[in-house]
Amino acid sequence: MNPPETATAATESELDPKLAEREAIKDINSDYATKFGFNDPETGYVYKAPKGLSRKLVEDISEYKDEPQWMREFRLKALDHFLSRPVPQWGADLNQIDFDDIHYFVRASEKAEHSWDDVPDDIKNTFDKLGIPEAERDFLAGVGAQYESEVVYHQVNEKLEAQGVQFMDMDTALREHEDVIREHFATVIPENDNMLAALNSAVWSGGSFVYVPKGVKVDMPLQAYFRINTENMGQFERTLIIADEDSDVHYIEGCTAPVYSTDSLHSAVVELIARPGARIRYTTVQNWSQNVFNLVTKRATAAERATVEWVDCNLGSKVTMKYPSIYLLGEEAHGEILSIAFAGEGQHQDAGGKIIHAAPKTTSSIFAKSISKDGGRSTYRGLLEVAKGAEQVRSKVVCDALLLDEQSRSDTYPTIRIDESDANVGHEASVSKIGEEQLFYLQSHGLDEEEASKMIVNGFIEPVVKELPMEYAVELNRLIELQMEGSIG
């Protein structure tokens, strides 16, 4: 008897990898609007603040969350900083943001649940469609899911909990570990570090708090997923990760939003503290819809022998300005920044990284890759600093840009400041186009022009993609292929 037809098809694709790959690519032909760009009804929302920013709104958020007085004062001080600062006139054009046309706080659900079954149906369906519960079952050690302003689901596996690993949303952390939060909050990124950090500090909500005790190695990654659903939304999460001595943790964040004709704003603050001998890897796959301004401040400190790695992939958003930084404060600390930016039509990816060598025998590398097509603009903006007293430093900065057509643009602004004579610093930069010769060579081997272009792009970003966990590397390749669809001809 013949097996059912579907079973036959599955077997064929399993046997033929090329067929399987084609099926996978076919599957991603659906555009962003279908896959990530859907939106859900707002029925059941608990609270939606009217548009606009005011002292009363900040006080209301604090009161709503029943925060201690010091946090309320912190928010109000940050608001004053934000209001007194001009919009930055360097980098991307931020003058187009209407700060009065944003909902600064939207609560979709009463509290962060520990079981997906308790999450309201519409929200649960969204995360089901995005594959989060499935990923949690398969390869994650813990998951936080933020929907609008607050975290709606949070869970960490029992083994890690037993080892003393803390992984919770920031609002809960402030309630349950107020002393720890007060001691470390805003010590890496003060509330008036810059205008957007000040805005985040005034209206922050959600985000993750992670503490990994001494010597504990978290084998599987922790993940946070951020979803904006409503129109004209501002999402301002706040994340703090403390890796105690000789511990090891990998944290991954992803994000998407519906496609709207009006703009939304995402402005996060992320602080990492790696104590002696610890290692933190922080991976971002940023895939906001192209109506989101993504203006994020990320900074880490690394004590002696500690390692911090930022793996930063920027595919979505209208405008991104983000320069993850690492302060190497202790001897033999190590920092790495791997950055990919993909700028398509109407997008400006202004990304890069900063490494500050503030102690002797510290080492670092920055690898930044950008791809621009259909008039998109990508910018590398970076800083490498070797401070006085930081002897025997070694560092390498490589920034490569790939332009896929005549209309696209790439800019590179690398700053290097060295105050010690024995520093060993290398800097390479390149800008290239997809060459006729490369295309001709691949086409002569049977690929069509689009496949050949995809292959060249995949080869270009491969050094960064290979650093991602397999599941994310596959997803990133798919997303880039999706962005590449129809880019030729």
Partner: protein, 104 residues
């Protein structure tokens, strides 16, 4: 080492600060709970003015008005980023009712 007069001690009560210029360099003098402290008026992050920032006598800190680094007044060390290098501190004392500053 040279000694400079800042002001009469009653002119700098608890919780107050004063910025003085010595040989072209600006120095902030602070009275935190009756203890006197002096640090250079320059943030080690980007060389901007420091002493005009928020002074917290209880915590014995001053906060850089430009990017928010918090400096400990007794040691000159930053307690928060983006500054990571300490700033200069100076000996300060009261002699015959006047606040005196020792500068190298």
């Amino acid at each position: 080492m040279s000694t400079h007069t800042v002001c009469k001690s009653e002119e700098l009560p608890e919780g107050e600060k004063r910025i003085v210029e010595v040989d072209g360099a600006k120095i902030g003098v602070f009275n935190a709970g009756g203890e006197l402290y002096a640090i250079e008026d320059r943030c080690s992050h980007d060389d901007g003015p420091l002493a005009e920032g928020n002074f917290d006598p209880a915590a014995c800190t001053v906060e850089c008005p430009r990017h928010g680094s918090m400096f400990d007044l007794s040691s000159g060390r930053p307690k928060t980023l983006p500054a990571f290098a300490p700033v200069e501190t100076y000996e300060v004392s009261v002699v015959d009712g006047e606040i005196k500053l020792e500068v190298d």
